[in-house]
Symmetry: C2
Amino acid sequence: MGDDPKVVSADGFRSDGAAALEWVARYLEGLDQVAVSPSVAPGDIAARLPAHAPEEPEPFATILRDLDRVVVPGLTHWQAPGFFAYFPASASPPSVLGELVSAGLGVNGMLWSTSPASTELEMVVLDWLVELLGLPDHFRFASEGGGVIEDSASSATLCALVAARERALRGATLDRLTLYGTSEAHSSLPKGAKIAGFAHDQLHSVPVLDDFSMDPSALSRMVAEDRAAGFVPCFVLATAGTTSSMAFDSLEQVGAICREEDLWLHVDAAMAGSAAICPELRAFHEGLELADSYAVNPHKWLLTNFDCTCFYVRDRRALTDALSVTPEYLRNPATASGSVVDYRDWQVPLGRRFRALKLWFVLRTYGATGLRRHLRNHLALAGKLRERLEADERFLFCAPPALDLLCFAHVTGNAATEQLLRDVNDTRRVLLSHTVLAGRYTIRCAIGGAWTEEHHLDELWEIIDRLAPPVSAAAAGAPSP
Amino acid sequence: MGDDPKVVSADGFRSDGAAALEWVARYLEGLDQVAVSPSVAPGDIAARLPAHAPEEPEPFATILRDLDRVVVPGLTHWQAPGFFAYFPASASPPSVLGELVSAGLGVNGMLWSTSPASTELEMVVLDWLVELLGLPDHFRFASEGGGVIEDSASSATLCALVAARERALRGATLDRLTLYGTSEAHSSLPKGAKIAGFAHDQLHSVPVLDDFSMDPSALSRMVAEDRAAGFVPCFVLATAGTTSSMAFDSLEQVGAICREEDLWLHVDAAMAGSAAICPELRAFHEGLELADSYAVNPHKWLLTNFDCTCFYVRDRRALTDALSVTPEYLRNPATASGSVVDYRDWQVPLGRRFRALKLWFVLRTYGATGLRRHLRNHLALAGKLRERLEADERFLFCAPPALDLLCFAHVTGNAATEQLLRDVNDTRRVLLSHTVLAGRYTIRCAIGGAWTEEHHLDELWEIIDRLAPPVSAAAAGAPSP
């Protein structure tokens, strides 16, 4: 052991760290010039990488060089100011540095006792957010509930489903339980239901109204019919801001049905939830006091890098009863005392990163005031683009514009809209994505990038305006579907 | 919008980043002096934090000051060289910097098309690891299989369970399926089974042999009996290096039964798997060619920070058939062509961080040679402590010492062992954890910390030697159980 390898050193971390930090800073500086999406075919990047791991150590500078040479040309740049696809990346300097510090500390908060401050900071920050977003008090730790950071809203939905299922299994067998959500609910609902052991036909799709929100009377009818047929309704997923079109299910009406029928109500507010930090935008949370669980993703619109989903439950015992398994090697006096939160019982994995740090860094660096200003700025940018689209006869909105999302199409039909999206994205200055709403091919434009400024929206409009054909030409070239 | 808030800037990232980097460097420099575990009671840390989020922005320096003042005193320092509990933290400078770059890039590789290089680098690095660890070729992408990075071995077990369940459901109903693992299997097996909708009595506990490994003949018998009783056996979890005692189930014997009975064999090699990078330590992988899936955690023993579990499957279609749900807004030409890997279909969440970067950084920074030297050094350190314990009449091994794990007890019984563990941990210079093996309270000592050197093992032995009572005194004070 005389040849102790000294594989790690703080000085090595310092020097390589300075290089990595500068690399990231330059990457961020260059975001405005980069092609938003890469021009690569499947296998292109893999072909540029060696087939075998290196046998001998390589200098850090070589790795950073290959990052530039091989990796970056194959990336879609989610933080580029022209990225309007899917949902915003929402990374910010303090969140990235929170991730750095978390990785540097390397603690694992699976149990309170395995790193107490990791758990307690998370509890406090999640309580802060209840207040900032105006969530019901029953999601605070002072009540019977509480919050936890999950990796994604998908995992939050799965955990809610499992808790609801376990509660319902006291009075029924698994194959009799039924779940409800609309066709507009996120794909993590059918995926979570499948993972949790539900058959495809146990998830019932509730019709939507014209604005793509859940039809509460249809839910009510379906629940009654299912009960009459011998099923045991157990779980409803309501969405506050759907992925496709930012539709808001009425939490008041859906919640009233859930209360009356004793169904677990999970509210998925993955993107929209962050907007509730502005009191004037909070109306979509009305009825949330009826919810059993709730998820919002600061990694979508609150300046926090992925992954950071805040998941709240009304009854933390229902969640931990469903997810707690304690082997001998994890027993400890704090857990036995019942006086601590062990977050492993709030999630699928056992281990966990110290993710509360980055949220703490963000909330403190910007303050509530700064975060509100940030979101209001996005809404102003979205409003300006909305006006331009509204004033132009070539476009129609496929769903009511809401918050940071605009869903529009070319009035002449799907072919023109699809072609326009391809042409716009082929500029590689911007990237938009698509959905289909009531059979109409729809361009989705989500405005929430941390680096997106007014002139980027101007450029986006200039590109759309230039590439969208006039109504007459498009109508002649491609008949409406 | 004239008052654009400019919430982010590369220069701000540079200056705050330098401060964060220096903070982490100093933290790492101080690891040798720190109290490994904190002296705090539940609620202590929370009480030192404000009850409300700040309304106005705060300077980064203030946040770092509070990190020192409030957070650090409440941490268990997983990277401290005296940390021998649970499993090693295994963070290293290149892995931490890989996490920094990943957060800085902020790309989301849910689909190949949402950031192609993120997916392809992960595929290549996972293929590299197949070769480095001597895993069967059927886990490479060139075959029908492939690998993915999950957050934890728990999630890998869940994904394997769901894939096995879906395959078995073609010929049976969920309530007839049965699963198998030993009492020594990780707690993520019963937890995963519960999440996946299996009732408690569908998971059958296979007896272990004297070395705590699975009794293959018992498995064979149980499967036959369950079939005779009308059940449909579907899944076996074999462990290559159990959490409690580093016991190795015979993959050859268990695998032969699984092949004959058409059961999905998942091999959990969370901690031990990394040792296979040294060819002379690979014997425990014999029979792995019979496995359907396999998981190893570089975040446990391969210098990579949590989270980084490498999960391999023989038949990637079995996995993606079980986990794929495609809404319109995620459809894209690359996916439709069938020529790409979309990693969202390999995991529970939809979104994903660019975790391959940190593993790439680690494999290149150390090279295979450096990683082998690192592991061999730990084994030499473990060997030296083992000799000391062996030569001392006060101690006995509760399980055969294997790789980096020593399981020992005071010969006079549980009371003396429990007291010794408390006394040793109360020094706060070191931290060990415990388990129970065949009714015997057992001290677990896992030697794999990146910062742990020979003199730390000497200090650990000095502490144990000083605090362990002589056989006569302990026997007089506390009778054997």
